[in-house]
């Protein structure tokens, strides 16, 4: 089960080399996103798009908030 990350967790995981993914639509990402984040919209998230991710490093996903 995915773990919930706090803001401090995100900062620590990024220091440790985690991958940061914004899962909102691309237009939202382009408007503004967390520095270092890459865009991988939920609608496009499948085996093929996920193949570019590194399985050996932690992955953090986020959107606007819990909605």
């Amino acid at each position: 089960m995915p773990r919930s990350a706090s803001r401090a967790d995100v900062q620590r995981l990024l220091q440790e080399g985690a991958q940061l993914l914004e899962v909102l639509p691309t237009a939202d990402y382009e408007q503004g996103h967390l520095a270092l984040a890459e865009s991988l919209p939920l609608k496009e998230l499948d085996e093929q798009s996920a193949s570019r991710l590194d399985r050996t490093r932690p992955i953090i996903v986020y959107c606007n908030d819990t909605v």
């Binding site: 520095a35 085996e47 399985r55 490093r57 996903v61």
Partner: protein, 144 residues
């Protein structure tokens, strides 16, 4: 949305998946680094740890913290009960950094003001007249 993305990643075999549920809203509210078209870079340069006081703390606690502040306090429409400026507060200030002139001012709403504070309404015209029109930045905001 992010919980579904996290679950999908796990179903695709990723084992170390985290969901930052507070997301972009919290991150930007704390002034942490953002990127993108509409990011207000000046917000990245602002400190998010300005001391304040809790709802149940008396005014004296707020005043003590303000007296300890290492940054200037502004209140263009704040006066004491006699109409004199309040010690430690400035009406406004002009800064210059990298060729950019920046006007600083602050005003307060009358709601909840203690009896020893007078809130001037409207704001003294001089507070606005001395704030110049904005100019385009010529150096990265972060540099100062």
């Amino acid at each position: 949305m992010s919980p579904r993305a996290a679950s999908r990643l796990e179903s695709l075999g990723f084992e170390d998946v985290w969901d930052y549920t507070a997301g972009k809203a919290e991150w930007s509210a704390f002034g942490l680094p953002m990127a993108g078209r509409q990011v207000a870079v000046v917000a990245d340069a602002m400190r998010p740890d300005v001391p304040s006081c809790g709802l149940l703390e008396p005014v004296s606690v707020a005043l003590e913290r303000m007296a300890e502040a290492k940054f200037p306090l502004y209140g263009a429409n704040l006066r004491d009960a006699g109409g004199a400026p309040i010690a430690g507060f400035k009406d406004r200030a002009l800064l210059e950094a990298g060729g950019v002139r920046i006007g600083r001012a602050s005003c307060s709403a009358a709601y909840g003001a203690p009896r020893w504070v007078t809130i001037l309404t409207p704001l003294p015209a001089a507070s606005w007249n001395q704030v110049p029109a904005p100019t385009a930045p010529t150096s990265p905001w972060k540099s100062w």
